[in-house]
Symmetry: C2
Subunit: 200 residues, 2 copies
Amino acid sequence: MSKYAKPLEKLIAEISNLPGIGTKSAQRLAFHILNMEDKEVVQLVNTIVNAKRTMHKCSVCGNLTDTNPCSICSDTRRSDNIICVVEEPKDVAALEKTKEFHGKYHVLNGLISPMDGVGADDINLKSLITRIQANPQVEEIIIATNPNVEGEATAMYIARLIKPSGIKVTRIAHGIPVGGDLEYTDEITLLKAMEGRQEL
Amino acid sequence: MSKYAKPLEKLIAEISNLPGIGTKSAQRLAFHILNMEDKEVVQLVNTIVNAKRTMHKCSVCGNLTDTNPCSICSDTRRSDNIICVVEEPKDVAALEKTKEFHGKYHVLNGLISPMDGVGADDINLKSLITRIQANPQVEEIIIATNPNVEGEATAMYIARLIKPSGIKVTRIAHGIPVGGDLEYTDEITLLKAMEGRQEL
């Protein structure tokens, strides 16, 4: 005999398929859902279905959006001269929180990773090139991929691809986070912080 | 401007309402759902709706089930003479894993907690009394609520309620867990372990 009745077993299995959710958490969530009001469950399910139905990738930048082009691409107050290249939609959200960047974005939806069989054609990179060719006013491409192996490799690849066209390609700075401590910073970050030093 | 498009914002908010899921996890899960295949999302949503629709409390023991009475209550190979009282459906699942208990269960779906305004009438206790009165063959009630303040108080309350009827009321043992270490065991557990000592 299985531990729980079938519909509950299935619910737990389905929830534990989600990333970062183990069996215990899935169990807790399943019981929580069964304890929820009917109308709350309907709302949860409708929100999932609605998000899945209405959200898609922006045809211009690749960001997730419910309009096309997305609200950032169609915002005329933002400059078309600078494009910031990021890995994922949540990186756009993180950068938007700074409220200081007024250019456009380009979301790669992945990083080049030969180890995982992901090549340049598997990420949203071709459309960046098309975009640059179609917009001669583009002056600078800021590459803001994460500072890990794939992020650095992708940054190098994009830089090599775009530089011949004469457009400035920059990389966000790596260094000691604000409020961080030299003593507890790893060597590679320290090295990057030294390399990236700027005159005061 | 909000960080994400509305349907996504709503999905993140809805997911972060679930217990133990913070904003970051909710964000990760929301993106995961948007990246899932359409048919996977349909399956997830259907499983939630189906579990919510078919699962209910067993009219006999209060456990969550998709049949009525539940598969344990209707299992004729199990003894009706011993009833093990637990707080939640997942406690039934935990005890069933030992494969050594062949009696029935009674799920309180709560614990008496005057601090939270939960009295004896707010948990599934009355039906236990009715059940005992209707089944004169009941010989023993094992109280397996968790060893915390509410669990102990509820155990004492039930014991006082049932003992006058002459039925044996027992409490599961508290002590050092198997594989545990005296040195790292808290004083109260040690005390319980000493009190609960048995002759070899």
